[in-house]
Amino acid sequence: MSAPALTARPPAGQLSREQLLELYHFMKLNRMVEEKLTNLYRQGKVVGGLYRSLGQEACSVGSAYALERGDIFTPMIRNLGAIFVRGGKPRDVFAQYMAKASGPTRGRDLNVHFGWLSEDGSMPSVISMLGDMIPILTGAVIAERMKGRKTVALNWIGDGGTSTGAFHEGFNLACVQKAPLVLIVENNKYAYSTPTSKQTANTRFVDRAAAYGCFGEQVDGNDVLAVYEATRRAIERARAGRGPTLIEADTMRMRGHAEHDDMKYVPQSMLEQWAARDPIPRYEKRLIAAHVATQEELDQVVARIDAALQEDLAAAEASPMPDPESGLDGVYADRSVAPPTPLLVVEWESRKGRG
């Protein structure tokens, strides 16, 4: 697969065959990486938690695919697909989950908590606290505007994350400033075990757009082309100086909050209903029906991904764990941090060594 295209994006109806297949590639890549991570998790090789985005791949891939060169984005825990669309490497993700020195944070942080700064398009690293990236990305695009650039930022938040103060403060500032920010509220029905009905008295999240005075749109979050098109329109408006858009994507979290969670609190009928709307088989059927690709061609996409991932996985597994003392550097740009052993103990041990 080629590097992600970062040129101006056409309306969904005008996507080329290559682009339509690229969307398929990224959704499958998203899912297959997570399947491999699940195996690693069960083998005890993922030393922290594992957070799946099963069933939500279209939300990440369709939206990130609408970004252009130089645009900024920050994925949340269930937006792994967006990272791949923007050039992130599965090998890095495997190494990060396994806490390896070769991972993008050298073993310092977990899962999708990494980032990069680049003229091609930065990914400021996310943190665990929900909503906090909204003011940060708002500031990032305000800074870009000061430099005379038309950079747009894309961020996601879950139904639970909309309850935070940072969501309100950040999104309100973005709207007041008419900052070029696109915010996708992925309504996946549960925040850990808490249903949306216990999160807010108005579960129509798109209504918040009116409250903040920005554009609002609802989209079928399990339809990758619909997500792409809604995001593309929002990005176009943002770039034209018309301010933020809040997009509510209707979707469903098909696994527990993390892999330890059996999510017995979700009714079985609900899962069955949503399984029928799985974004990947839906898109496969559509590609085949529209004669974009045959089943054999789609199978080949999958085979190519699988071969590449086997290699990535082997490389990540073979790479070393970090040197313990490497964790002392990089707290400050210009100052080192003292090791944990008190000086007195160091001196005492060295005296003892001399006899």
């Binding site: 940072a166 007041v176 990089g330 941090v337």
Partner: protein
């Protein structure tokens, strides 16, 4: 040699850096049209325009968050807390984003978060606090607290140019009460360096910010009794200038740590622990903390006067240590 107040020194440092470096900008509540609640940014909007002097909603998390995002994109934002007490509202942005970002993924966050701290002006529990100790336990942050106009200017310049997040505590009691002749042009006071404000050989006072002046007043009074007090102005609280603290402890063997933050878990404990670990053999008395009691800052003058250290109380401590 212009004579500047502490407040004017802060303003001038920001003004000079904004003139020199277009990456520097200001955001906060009422910083533009009104020029800041204490008028620290008066005239900035007219000079630099709305693009670089941004009046924000009443949203400390958004203010610091936006500063963080802009810093990641290469800017040098200065975020104002209208009163430093409100920094509690954006604790998460500072502690979980700004402080940890470089360590986690290499994203440096060169922001300055500044605001008026301190008591003595009858501001009550929410307009008088000294939050330095909240943040001293946060790796990745730097904290400065100038006690003179020269340091106010030099530390602000250093803070703006620093590659990491700096909390700049400006003491509102000093804003217009102290004035100094400052040299024209650039002044940089390095972060992490203390200064001997008064040399002495009998007792040391380790202090900073408004308490520097209390210490100097008490030292002057003690000198009349023949006691030579050394006053060390820390200027930076994170990182502490360990060598300067150890040097004064070794010199006098008797140390008072004086500050306006409350006692338990305050900066004094850290200074005392450092001296105990590394200058134990030089000590001739226990290290003493002079700090307010563990209560919120009260409003009524008799209550606040009782709460705050003053030269008389410090004088008693000097005498006790001298005679120990």
């Amino acid at each position: 040699m212009p004579v500047l107040t502490y407040l004017e020194a802060i303003r001038l440092a920001m003004l000079e850096e904004m003139e020199k470096d277009e990456r520097v900008f200001i955001l906060g509540e009422d910083v533009g049209i009104y020029g800041g609640a204490f008028r620290v940014t008066a005239g900035f909007l007219e000079k630099f325009g709305e693009g670089r002097v941004i009046d924000t909603p009443v949203s400390e998390t958004a203010i610091v968050g936006a500063a963080v995002g802009a810093a990641l994109m290469g800017m040098r934002p200065i975020a104002e807390m209208q009163f430093i007490d409100f920094i509690a509202c954006c604790f998460n942005q500072l502690v979980n984003y700004a402080a940890k970002s470089r360590f986690r993924w290499g994203g440096g966050v060169p922001i300055v978060v500044r605001g008026p701290c301190g008591g003595g002006v009858h501001g009550g529990p929410f307009h008088s606090q000294n939050p330095e100790a909240f943040f001293m336990n946060v790796p990745g942050l730097k904290i400065v607290a100038p006690g003179t106009a020269a340091d106010a200017k030099g530390l602000m310049t250093a803070a703006i140019r620093d590659p990491d997040p700096v909390i700049y505590l400006e003491h509102k009691f000093l804003y217009r009460r102290i004035k100094e002749d400052l040299p024209e042009g650039e002044m940089v006071v390095p972060i992490g360096k203390a200064r001997i404000a008064r040399p002495g050989k009998d007792v040391s006072i380790v202090t900073y910010a408004a308490m520097l002046h209390v210490a100097l007043e008490a030292a002057e009074a003690a000198a009349r009794d023949g006691i030579e007090v050394e006053v060390l102005d820390l200027r930076t609280l994170l990182p502490l200038d360990e060598e300067a603290i150890l040097a004064t402890a070794a010199k006098t063997g008797k140390v008072i740590v004086l500050h306006e933050a409350t006692r338990t878990g305050g900066p004094g404990g850290e200074v005392a622990a450092l001296i105990s670990e590394r200058a134990f053999e030089y000590l001739d008395s226990p290290v003493v903390r002079m700090a307010p009691p563990d209560t919120p800052v009260p409003y009524s003058p008799p209550l606040e006067d009782y709460f705050l250290p003053n030269a008389e109380k410090v004088g008693k401590a000097i005498r006790a240590l001298y005679e120990y």
